[in-house]
Amino acid sequence: MSENLIACRGLSKAYGRKAALSGVDLEVGRGRIVGLLGPNGSGKTTLIKLMCGLLQPTTGQIEIGGLPVGTETKAMVSYLPDRMYFANWMRAVDLFDLFRDFYRDFDYEKAIAMCRSLGVEPHDRLKTMSKGTKEKVQLVLVMARKAQLYLLDEPIAGVDPAARDFILHTILTNYNEEGTVLISTHLISDIEKVLDEAIFLKTGKVMLHETVDHIRETQGKSVDALFREIFRAQTLEGGEF
């Protein structure tokens, strides 16, 4: 087993002329919970999509568990997209069947148990569910796998603060301990205390990659406060409108 679970070297992605990521070098170890933090349009979703093979890098390399992104790495990666992609007529249990077929590491019993603890009725149809409930179903699908790498793109954006705590609790108590969880979000204060490390993305570049405790020790403030400080002045740079 290679030491780093994620290794990116000189990773860039451009959509036409617009650069979404430029020259990202990144290494993330195993057994970590990592926050991928940055304002809108900083490249968080692009980076995650590159890691799960939904996008191809323009230049540079990316490896998961020592392998280039491909069929083998997809079996190791559990991905929570930032939007729903399921048909409305389906029930949660239909999705569980689908996932059981697709992924060898999907634990059906665990998925049902997680639904119960999140207060979701697994036999309800998706179209009868609220947005927050659908997000919970999606989270269950992703966390009921025993994956090496969980990529969670904005897992808490659509739910109320009380449900947020519950979802974080679900993530904490269900992730595979040798696996790593990468959570992208801009709701930093809500997830800060579950993180080992924070990665700050700014206009497609990694501008900081540190452990949360180190940030607090050296800066004397929370990651949330540091984030606000770093990204505050941005809009003023252009001068007049």
Binding site: T173, D196, E217, K221
Partner: protein, 119 residues
């Protein structure tokens, strides 16, 4: 007992302090078994690695020791517990004397006042 985490300091340090407090106040009695890292982490809503680090510090302070089979036990060494309790009491007393000094009382006066107040 609630976990209180503030923004300005490392989380593991705050966890160590609160675990220490729980031990010296007898929430976890001497010789008892501490909950597992996972349980404590879930209860406090923090990362298990962070809780692990906090518990390692407790071991270093002599307040807990790892048992190969039974997890972590609270120390039975009452001298260690008393030392830690005294150290925490000293912090409280320092705060008192500092606040009184700001009000213009010498340490002797402050001590005298405290005694009168209690009688």
């Amino acid at each position: 007992m609630e976990w209180k985490l503030t923004d300005d300091r490392p989380i593991w340090l705050q966890l160590t302090e609160q675990m220490t407090r729980r031990i010296i106040t007898g929430v976890y009695p001497p010789g008892s078994r501490l909950p597992s890292v996972r349980e404590l982490a879930a209860e406090a809503g923090v990362n298990p690695n962070t809780m692990q680090r906090a518990l390692a510090q407790l071991e270093q302070d002599g307040l807990a020791k790892a048992d190969r089979t039974a997890g972590r036990m609270v120390t039975q060494d009452t001298a260690v517990l008393e030392d830690v309790r005294r150290a925490q009491a000293r912090v409280v007393m320092d705060q008192y004397f500092n606040a009184m000094a700001e009000l213009g009382y010498s340490p002797a006066e402050a001590a005298e006042l405290l005694k009168e107040e209690k009688e």
